[in-house]
Amino acid sequence: MSNTDLKVKVWRGAEQGEFVEYLVPRNPNQTVLDVVTYIQRKLDPTLSYRFACRVGMCGSCAMTVNGVARWTCRTHVSKIVKGDSLEIAPLNNLPVIKDLATDMREFFNKWKGAVGFFKGNQTRHDDFAIVEPQSEERQLANAGIECIGCGVCYASCEVVESRPNYLGPAALNRAWTLTNDVRDIQQLDRLRAVAGDEGCHACHSQGSCTERCPKAIAPTAGIAGLKKLVARAAVRGSKWGKL
């Protein structure tokens, strides 16, 4: 690895602002989050950004790096650097609070809007529900359950860009895992919430979310599953009833 400095352009400001260039020493195995942390600690303490775990679990450090949304704590500079330049900006499709920190409220409110939360009807006095690990539902839920809520898919989605009310891949992926949770009791409400132009039927199946998801989840596949499930429930009915 060369010891020349990295030229790092970082977005400063809110919706209005500009890129400011910093010189950051290169290190072996350096991540993009290391670069941002170096700038904040050594060069400009007023730089705002968000992180917590540093190991790819919490989903808080996603940013746009060289034009692509990524989880910065697990993105090695050496894998994405162009020459000796990096451009780091806040995530797309979300309001910028300051510098690299975006307002995630709308993103998470949409999870609520997609009925992306569990509700059962058992109490602590009931036996454990038995969910067979090999059952189809469990397998389908497994495929999407590792989402860390980083917002990379949401920032990469062109439908979110053109339809601000669209629930987005993360919320729909969560809804899909829950439609495959046999213990959940709000299935029809969920299908109604994810139907139509603001939900799964607006998806173009372009697959940017799937390509960029750092956890290798395929929201596109989950959304396709929802499209079929919702359309069948509207026309023929589902195992939970007709929409």
Binding site: R163, V230, A234
Partner: protein
């Protein structure tokens, strides 16, 4: 019916009509390959289609599948491109009407050979 449920039904209708169109296009292409052996004349085409109820029914199914499929797709595109204009619904109804009228006229034309 809520907007979401309507969209879900339209999506379903578009998928089903796409399946029909897939089959129709395949048959249509095979017929074209068969028909153009040794040149193509209006006479030859009319000779095949005139009074042939099978051809008429097949192409009317083709027209009906287009009637369902294309306006739904166009409405989606218009709604997404020009969300504030309210153009999607009237334009897609107009397209549906055009496909039905022009398509059916063509089917009647090749069935009767222009006798009507």
């Amino acid at each position: 019916m809520s907007q979401g449920i309507l969209q879900a039904k339209l999506w379903y209708a578009q998928r089903i009509s796409a399946m029909i169109l897939g089959i129709c296009v395949a048959i249509h292409l095979i017929i074209i390959f068969y028909a153009i052996r040794g040149g193509l004349t209006a006479q030859e085409i009319l000779g095949r289609t005139q009074g042939n109820l099978g051809f008429a029914i097949f192409y009317e199914i083709f027209v009906l599948a287009c009637l369902v499929h294309a306006p739904i797709g166009m409405a989606n595109i218009l709604q997404e491109t020009f969300p504030q204009t309210g153009i999607a619904k009237p334009a897609s109804w107009l397209l549906a009407l055009l496909i039905l009228v022009l398509g059916t006229t063509a089917v009647i034309g090749v069935y009767t050979g222009g006798a009507i």
